[in-house]
């Protein structure tokens, strides 16, 4: 990365006091602290990873922090996105993050980009920054950030999480591999875990995002041994760290000697997302939540199947429903009678659509999918059913 010279900056008396625990360490010292003050770091996303990342960078005295985020704080964010608090629900994440950063360190300049990062704006936003730290953790953005960093010659501090497991590395094509060297292609959407397998332990992004902050500070100050060329794997349940070697792929399409990607592409298309979202349910017989309520009130004989997971059933359920998780539907089909009227539901209607499809293939005809799932039931019939 571009060498940051410390000569033009200085620290005020207040700053010296604030950063004293850095200044008394020779590894940082005045020189390192001035490098931090002159550094410009772009955080993509102010969510689970972006929260600790931006908080620690701000506390450490990084002079300019850019944040790209267009989302609004909601209640489900608060379990892990510690840059936002309960009073921020409903506010833009950018406004909330900016306020928290200034509360922690008023010396930091925060630049907000309230926009979705795209192939059209990425190069323009990135060009003014020394380090890019990706906290968005979805595939299209990850490939976009990677390619933009390679094209601009900037380091990309990477973190990713899944349930109890995290990955972190620094991708910097000038000195080592890029993300595409590690994974040339993303998984097709059909093989990405669905919300039934989702969720994340709130502390995990705290640890991985803090690792990203640490690697960013190391890149800026030049101390220590960077994660370039290494992939850290963290298993929170076993409290185990493992380290794997990353090598530059000589055939890499973006950072190899003969790149075929020389400008940013359409990353949603690359990740196979567009146009597939709602295909399966469109042609299936559906029923609305009020219609289901009416049928139940009229005491029509009706079998209601819940295809969510047992731990979701414990959060909330529709009284009288029978739990058969989607993965068990094929095996437990014999528990159902094709002569009965059957309604299938899940959280929001997608998993149950798959179950309806499966049952129809096996000859079930008097079967309907509950449109919008138990969330619609909560919205339109019984608000006492909690949403999650």
């Amino acid at each position: 990365m571009a060498t940051i010279t410390a000569s033009t900056a200085h620290l005020s008396k207040d700053e010296i006091l604030r950063y004293s625990r850095h200044l008394i360490m020779p590894e940082v010292g005045m020189e390192g602290q001035l490098k931090l003050k002159q550094a410009k770091v772009l955080c993509i996303g102010a969510g689970g990873l972006g929260s600790p990342l931006a908080l620690y960078l701000a506390a450490a005295g990084v002079g300019k922090i850019g944040i790209v985020d267009f989302d609004v704080v909601d209640f489900t964010n608060l379990q892990r996105q510690i840059i936002h608090d309960t009073n921020d629900v409903g506010r833009p994440k950018l406004a909330s993050a900016r306020e928290t950063i200034h509360d922690i360190n008023p010396f930091v300049e925060v630049v907000g980009y309230e926009t979705r990062l795209s192939s059209e704006n990425a190069l323009d936003i990135f060009k003014d920054y020394d380090v890019i730290a990706d906290g968005t953790d979805n595939f299209p953005t990850r490939y976009l950030v990677n390619d933009a960093c390679v094209l601009l010659g900037k380091p990309n501090v990477y973190g990713s999480i899944f349930r109890f497991e995290g990955q972190a590395s620094v991708f910097y094509a000038k000195e080592g591999p890029c993300y595409r060297c590690l994974y040339p292609e993303p998984p097709p959407p059909g093989l990405v875990p669905s919300c039934a397998e989702g969720g994340v332990l709130g502390v995990l992004p705290g640890i991985v995002g803090s690792m990203q902050a640490l690697e960013t500070i190391k890149l800026i100050t030049g101390v220590g041994v960077s994660l370039i060329g290494r992939l850290m794997l963290f298993d929170a349940l076993r409290m185990k760290f493992r380290e794997l070697k990353l090598r530059k792929n000589p055939h890499c399409v973006v950072c190899g000697p003969h790149p075929t990607i020389t400008e940013l592409i359409d990353y949603e298309q690359f990740c196979g997302i567009r146009g597939e979202e709602h295909a399966p349910s469109a042609r299936l017989p559906e029923i609305s939540a009020p219609e289901l309520k009416k049928m139940m009130d009229e005491k029509k004989s009706l079998v209601l199947i819940d295809v969510r997971e047992p731990h979701e059933y414990q959060i909330c359920n529709i009284p009288g429903s029978k739990l058969i998780p989607l993965g068990e539907v094929a095996r437990r089909m014999n528990e159902l009678n094709s002569a009965d009227d059957i309604v299938v539901h899940c959280k929001s209607g997608m998993r149950s659509a798959r179950a309806v499809e499966l049952l129809m293939q096996s000859g079930f005809r008097k079967i309907h999918n509950l449109r919008g799932g138990i969330l619609a039931w909560s919205d339109q019939v019984d608000p006492s059913v909690p949403k999650y």
Partner: protein, 99 residues
């Protein structure tokens, strides 16, 4: 010879929640073959229809990527540890069709 294969969190649902599986194999191809014949649901997550290891799944022998060893012909020794390391994305709301 017995070799341990470490299963990552997203794929444990296909191995009966097992975190590791011991197989008998002389090379990586044999090890993965054994693993997927024991747990058939795992197959489509590791291999394409024409049997190639998927581009978003890496296999490591110790800390070394088999793509930079002898790929699936990389020989295995007693008590070697293979890790399957897929790309993960926890903030995958964009991907999650059942949001």
């Amino acid at each position: 010879m017995p070799v341990t294969v470490l299963i990552p969190t997203p794929l444990r649902q296909y191995t009966g929640k097992k975190e590791s599986v011991v197989v008998e194999a002389k090379n990586v191809a044999e090890a993965l073959q054994q693993l997927t014949s024991e747990y058939p649901d795992l197959r489509r997550h590791l291999f394409t229809d024409d049997g190639k290891l998927r581009n978003f799944v890496n296999v490591y022998l110790g800390d070394e990527d088999i793509r930079f060893l002898q790929k699936d012909q990389t020989p295995l020794n007693d008590k070697d540890v293979l890790s399957i390391v897929p790309s993960i994305a926890g903030g995958a709301d964009l991907y999650c069709i059942c949001k």
